[in-house]
C-alpha cells in the first residue's frame, strides 16, 4: 500500500531531521561558547590548579650561639621521601623502594599535608643517590631536603636551650592562625620556646608543574626558606660544659652568672636529655621512656624544681636580724648542741654543740641554735617581710618558659589552709630553711646576687644579642635593675664577712685555699625521699663580685661536701680560664 502520503511524509521527515541537526549545532555551539569564552578564565585557573603544585618548604630557624660565638644549635639539611598520593600505586612504589635500597623498610606513611605522604625521613646520602638514580621507576616520589635541628653536645645545655618538636593536628587549631602548618617545627621548651618568634624564620615554596601522574615536569619558581634572627646567649659554653662535667654522675643544678648585669653564664640541670633525639623524631617508646624516668630529665631543675633551701636561707635571716637590730655583730652566743623551747629540744646539726660563737662564726659554722634564737627574735611576720623584699616567691623575670616560684609559708597561710596555729617551732624550722619553705635554685641564686650586689637586683637573662641574617647586631639586652634592697652598709659587710669565714674556717672547708676571696654559704636540705640535698652557693671575689654561683647536688648527703667540691672545680676553672 505504498502511497503518496507516506512518500510525502518521508520527505518531511528528512527535512525535519535537518532542522534537528541545526538545532543540535546551535546547542553545542552555545555550550562551547559558554565553556571556552564565558567561563574560560575559571577553567584556566582550574587547569593551573591541576598542573601546578605548590610545595611549601619548612622555615629555617635561627642559630643559637654562646657569648663567645660558639654555635650551640643550628639547622642542618636532611633528606626525606615524599609521595604524592594518587600519582601512582603507593604499594608498588614502596615495593620498588625496598628493592632499590635492598633492605626491608618500615615506612612512616605520615600524612603531612593533604595528598602528601612522608615515606621515609632522615635518609642517608647514599640512599638518596640510589633513589635519584631510579627516579623514573618511582612516579610520584619526591626527594625533599628539610632542615633538622642539631644541638652541640645535646645533653650539656638541653634544659636551657630546650628542643623543637612538630606542630600536631591539635595544636594546629590555635597555631594555624599564626601561620603554622601541620608538621612545622616549633620550640617546645627553653630558649627555643621562649624566643620562638625570633627564631622562627620564613617559609619558602617551590611551585612545580606536574603531569597527571604527579611527575614533576619543571620547576616554575622557587623561594628558599630563610631564618630571620639568630640569638647570642649570655651563656659561656666552655663554662657550661665544665659545670656539667663537674657534677659528674650526680644529679643537680649549677648556676653561674654575673651579678652586675644579670647575665647567666652557666645553666646546668642534671639528669639531662639529648634534644637531638627530638629533631629526628622520637618514637613513642623513646618518648615514654623519657617521661617515665623517675629522675625526670625533662625538668629544667634550676627554674622548675622546688627544694627546701636549708641553711642557705640563714643568709636572709642574718641580714634581717642585723637590719632589725635584734642582734649586733659583736653579740656572742652559746651553743650546747640544742635549744630548749617549751618541752622540746631543737637540735643543732653539731651534736656536741659549737660552744661559744660570735655572730659571724655562727654564719661560718651554720649554727642552728643561733639562728633558732634569731628567728624567734624576729618572728614570722618580719621574716616574711624580708623574704618579700628579696623577691622570694615572686616572678624572677628570667627569659625562659615555665619558671616556677617557690613557696614561702606565713602564719595566715597556715591558719587558712592547714587550719592550724603557727607555732614557735614553725618559726625555728623556717629560720634554718626547713619546714614548709620551698625555693627554686634560681631564687637562691638571686638571693646570692642580691648580697653580692649589696642590694641591687638585676633581672637575670640568658639572651644577650639578637643578630640578623648577616650577623649584624639588631638588639642587645642591657642590664635591667629590678629592685634595690636598701639595708645599712654594715649589715651587708657583716654578713659577707660571715660568708667569707664559711670558706676560711667554717663549713665550706672544701673550697678552702683558693687564690681568691670567696664568700659562700653551705646548705643541707632535708629530703623525705632519701639522702639530703646538698647546697653550696656564693660569689667571688667577695669585695667586688664578678661571679655568683650556686650548686645543688641532689642526695649529695650530709653537710655540703659534695656541692662544695663541685663548686671548687668550677671556681678553679674560672680562675684559670676567665680570670677575675
Amino acid at each position: 500500500m505504498w502511497n503518496e502520503r507516506i512518500e510525502e511524509r518521508i520527505h518531511q521527515r528528512v527535512a525535519a531531521a535537518l532542522w534537528i541537526g541545526i538545532a543540535l549545532f546551535v546547542v553545542l555551539s552555545a555550550r562551547l561558547w559558554y565553556l571556552s569564552v564565558l567561563r574560560g578564565e575559571w577553567f584556566r585557573e582550574r587547569s593551573e590548579r591541576n598542573r601546578v603544585r605548590v610545595v611549601f618548604l619548612e622555615t629555617l630557624r635561627g642559630n643559637i650561639y654562646d657569648r663567645r660565638g660558639v654555635c650551640l644549635a643550628e639547622d642542618i639539611p636532611r633528606f626525606r621521601l615524599v609521595f604524592l598520593v594518587g600519582s601512582s600505586d603507593e604499594k608498588l612504589v614502596m615495593k620498588r623502594i625496598r628493592e632499590i635500597l635492598r633492605r626491608d623498610i618500615v615506612f612512616s606513611l605520615r600524612e603531612r599535608a593533604p595528598g602528601e605522604l612522608v615515606l621515609l625521613e632522615d635518609l642517608p646520602l647514599e640512599d638518596v643517590v640510589r633513589i635519584e638514580e631510579n627516579s623514573e621507576h618511582l612516579p610520584g616520589v619526591l626527594v625533599e631536603v628539610y632542615p633538622a635541628r642539631k644541638y652541640r653536645d645535646g645533653e650539656v645545655a638541653a634544659s636551657l636551650l630546650g628542643y623543637v618538636g612538630r606542630v600536631g593536628p591539635e595544636e594546629l587549631k590555635v597555631l594555624g592562625k599564626m601561620g603554622y602548618r601541620n608538621e612545622d617545627r616549633i620550640g617546645k621548651s627553653g630558649v627555643e620556646s621562649f624566643y620562638e618568634s625570633l627564631l622562627r624564620g620564613e617559609e619558602g615554596y617551590r611551585r612545580v608543574e606536574v603531569d597527571a601522574l604527579g611527575r614533576v615536569v619543571q620547576v616554575l619558581d622557587f623561594q628558599s626558606p630563610r631564618f630571620r634572627y639568630s640569638l647570642q646567649l649570655t651563656l659561656d659554653w666552655e663554662l657550661q660544659r665544665t659545670c656539667y662535667e663537674a657534677l659528674g654522675r650526680r644529679n643537680g643544678v649549677v648556676l653561674v652568672g654575673d651579678p652586675a648585669t644579670g647575665e647567666i653564664l652557666a645553666f646546668v640541670s642534671k639528669p639531662s636529655f639529648d634534644p637531638n633525639l627530638f629533631s629526628r623524631g622520637l618514637s613513642l617508646k623513646e618518648w615514654l621512656d623519657l617521661l617515665e624516668q623517675k629522675s625526670n630529665p625533662l625538668l629544667a631543675r634550676p627554674t622548675q624544681a622546688l627544694y627546701p633551701p636549708g641553711s642557705l636561707f640563714k643568709i636572709l635571716i642574718a641580714l634581717a636580724a642585723l637590719e632589725e637590730q635584734v642582734v649586733t655583730s659583736r653579740e656572742s652566743f652559746f651553743c650546747p648542741g640544742y635549744l630548749e623551747y617549751g618541752n622540746w629540744k631543737y637540735l643543732c646539726w653539731k651534736r656536741g654543740g659549737h660552744g661559744r660563737v660570735t655572730f659571724e662564726e655562727a654564719i661560718a659554722e651554720s649554727c642552728n641554735v643561733v639562728f633558732y634564737t634569731l628567728g624567734l627574735r624576729l618572728g614570722p611576720e618580719r621574716i616574711a617581710r624580708y623574704a618579700r623584699m628579696f623577691g622570694l616567691g615572686q616572678d624572677a623575670h628570667l627569659d625562659l618558659p615555665g619558671v616556677k616560684t617557690g613557696f614561702f609559708p606565713t602564719p595566715e597561710w597556715k591558719r587558712e589552709v592547714l587550719k592550724e596555729a603557727w607555732y614557735p617551732g614553725d618559726t625555728m624550722n623556717l629560720s634554718i630553711g626547713q619546714g614548709y619553705l620551698l625555693v627554686t635554685p634560681l631564687e637562691m641564686y638571686l638571693l646570692l646576687c642580691t648580697v653580692a650586689n649589696r642590694g641591687k637586683v638585676y633581672d637575670p637573662h640568658v639572651l644577650w644579642r639578637v643578630l640578623d641574617e648577616n650577623g649584624k647586631v639588631v638588639k642587645e639586652v642591657k642590664p635591667s635593675l629590678r629592685r634595690t634592697v636598701a639595708l645599712r652598709p654594715q649589715t651587708w659587710d657583716t654578713v659577707i664577712r660571715g660568708m667569707e669565714k664559711v670558706v676560711t674556717q667554717g663549713t665550706g672547708f672544701n673550697c678552702r685555699g683558693l687564690p681568691v676571696k670567696l664568700a659562700a654559704k653551705t646548705g643541707t636540705a632535708q629530703n623525705p625521699h632519701g639522702k639530703e640535698h646538698s647546697w653550696f652557693g656564693g660569689f667571688f671575689p667577695s669585695d667586688r663580685p664578678k661571679f655568683v654561683f650556686l650548686v645543688l647536688v641532689e642526695h649529695g648527703g650530709d653537710g655540703s661536701g659534695e656541692a662544695a667540691l663541685v663548686a671548687r672545680k668550677v671556681i678553679e676553672w674560672i680562675l684559670q680560664n676567665r680570670g677575675v
Binding site: R13, I20, S36, S47
Partner: protein, 365 residues
C-alpha cells in the same frame, strides 16, 4: 560553481585532516618518530585504507550491498556473537575486539544494520507506518543491539537503537506511534538502572553532578570541561594544551579528542569542527531528499542520522551536557574500524551525490 560532490569530498577530507592533526597532538610517541607503532602513523595508515574504500564505493555501483543486506546482517550478528565468545577485553574489562584487538565488529554492525534497515523497510514499503513492520524490525534490531549491550558497550547499543528509531522516523511512521514508543522508552528506562553495571551507574551519576567527585567518577567530565574551558577563544596553540600534554585529559585519542582539540584551538577551532560536521550532515540529508530510490533515500538519511547522533553524543559528553558513553567522534577519533566504516559510508554518499547531479543534468539536457 563548485559541484556539490567536490564540496562534500572537501568537507570529509578536512574532517580527516583535522582528525590526524588532533591525533598527532596527543600522540605520546610523537617524539620517537612516526613509525607504524605511533598513534599518528596508524591513523594516517587507516586514513589511506579508508580513502581507498571511499574511492571504491564512489566509483562502483553499490546496489549489490542492498540486495545482500541479509548477509551483512547475519554476518554482523555472528561476529558480535564471536566477540562475546572469543573476544578480547580492553582496559575497562569490556569485550569489544577480535583479531588481537584490531577489529571492532560493533563498528561494522552499524553499517550492516544501516543497509539491512533501509533494504528491509523499502522491500516492505507497503507496510510502512504499520505496527506489524515496526515489531518485526524491532526484533531484527534487538538481536545485534543486545549482543553489543552484553559486551558491554552501552554507547554502541544506544547508537543501534537510535538507528532503528531513526528508521521509523524517516520511514514515515505516524508521530503518535513514535510518541508512544518514546513514552514507553522513557517509562522503562529507569528500570534499566537495575541491569546496569556499576561503572555505568557511576557514569550516569557523574553526568548529573561531575563536580561532586572530580577526582573519581566525575574525573573525565571535569577534566574535559577544564580542557575546553582553558582553551579560551583562540586556544593555547598547537601542541601546547596543558591538560592534554600533561595527560590530565583521559581518553585523549578517542572519546575526548574534541576536548583536546578545543584546548589547542579554542572556541574558534571547535566551531570549525562543528561547522564541518553540520555541513557534512546537511549535504547527506540533502542528497537523501534528491535520490529517487527509496532504499537509497533511507540509507542516506539514516547515515546522516547515525553521523549526527554520534557527533551529538560525543561532543555533548565532551562539553558536559551528555553522559559519558564510549562513542567515537566520526573521522576525528583515533581508531581504524570507525574511520573505515564512516569513510566507506561517505564514499557511497559521494556516489549518490554524483549520480543525482548526473540525473539532474540529463534532465536539463
Amino acid at each position: 560553481m563548485m559541484r556539490r560532490e567536490h564540496f562534500f569530498v572537501l568537507v570529509t577530507l578536512c574532517l580527516c585532516i583535522l582528525g590526524v592533526v588532533a591525533v598527532y597532538s596527543v600522540d605520546p610517541l610523537r617524539d620517537e618518530g612516526f613509525g607504524p607503532k605511533s598513534f599518528f602513523g596508524r591513523q594516517v595508515l587507516w586514513n589511506a585504507v579508508g580513502w581507498a574504500l571511499f574511492l571504491l564505493f564512489r566509483f562502483s555501483d553499490f546496489q549489490w550491498l542492498f540486495r545482500r543486506s541479509w548477509l551483512w546482517y547475519l554476518f554482523s550478528v555472528l561476529s558480535l556473537g564471536a566477540v562475546l565468545v572469543f573476544g578480547e577485553s580492553d582496559e575497562t574489562g569490556a569485550k569489544r575486539w577480535l583479531f588481537s584487538r584490531s577489529v571492532q565488529p560493533s563498528e561494522f554492525a552499524k553499517l550492516a544494520l544501516l543497509f539491512f534497515l533501509s533494504s528491509y523497510l523499502s522491500t516492505n514499503r507497503d507496510e510502512l507506518d504499520f505496527w506489524s513492520l515496526l515489531v518485526k524490525s524491532a526484533f531484527f534490531v534487538a538481536v545485534p543491539t543486545l549482543l553489543v549491550f552484553l559486551q558491554p558497550d552501552l554507547g554502541t547499543a544506544l547508537v543501534l537503537g537510535v538507528l532503528w528509531f531513526g528508521a521509523l522516523f524517516i520511514g514515515g511512521w505516524h508521530k503518535r506511534k513514535l510518541g508512544l514508543l518514546l513514552g514507553l522508552f522513557a517509562g522503562l528506562s529507569p528500570l534499566s538502572w537495575f541491569i546496569m553495571k556499576d561503572y555505568q551507574r557511576k557514569r550516569i551519576l557523574a553526568f548529573l553532578n561531575p563536580w561532586k567527585d572530580p577526582l573519581g567518577s566525575g574525573y573525565n567530565v571535569v577534566q574535559s570541561q577544564i580542557a575546553i574551558g582553558s582553551g579560551g577563544f583562540l586556544g593555547q596553540g598547537w601542541l601546547s594544551g596543558k591538560q592534554t600534554q600533561l595527560r590530565f585529559l583521559p581518553a585523549r585519542y578517542t572519546d575526548f579528542i574534541f576536548a583536546a582539540f578545543c584546548e589547542q584551538f579554542g572556541f574558534a577551532g571547535g566551531m570549525v569542527l562543528l561547522t564541518l560536521f553540520i555541513l557534512f550532515f546537511w549535504i547527506v540529508l540533502e542528497v537523501a531528499q534528491r535520490v529517487e530510490n527509496l532504499e537509497e533515500r533511507l540509507f542516506a538519511a539514516l547515515f546522516g542520522i547515525l553521523f549526527l547522533f554520534q557527533v551529538g553524543i560525543n561532543v555533548g559528553m565532551n562539553l558536559g551536557i551528555a553522559p559519558v558513553t564510549g562513542i567515537p567522534l566520526p573521522f576525528v577519533s583515533y581508531g581504524g574500524s570507525s574511520l573505515l566504516v564512516h569513510l566507506a559510508g561517505a564514499g557511497m554518499i559521494a556516489r549518490l551525490i554524483w549520480r543525482t547531479e548526473q540525473e539532474e543534468r540529463e534532465r536539463w539536457i
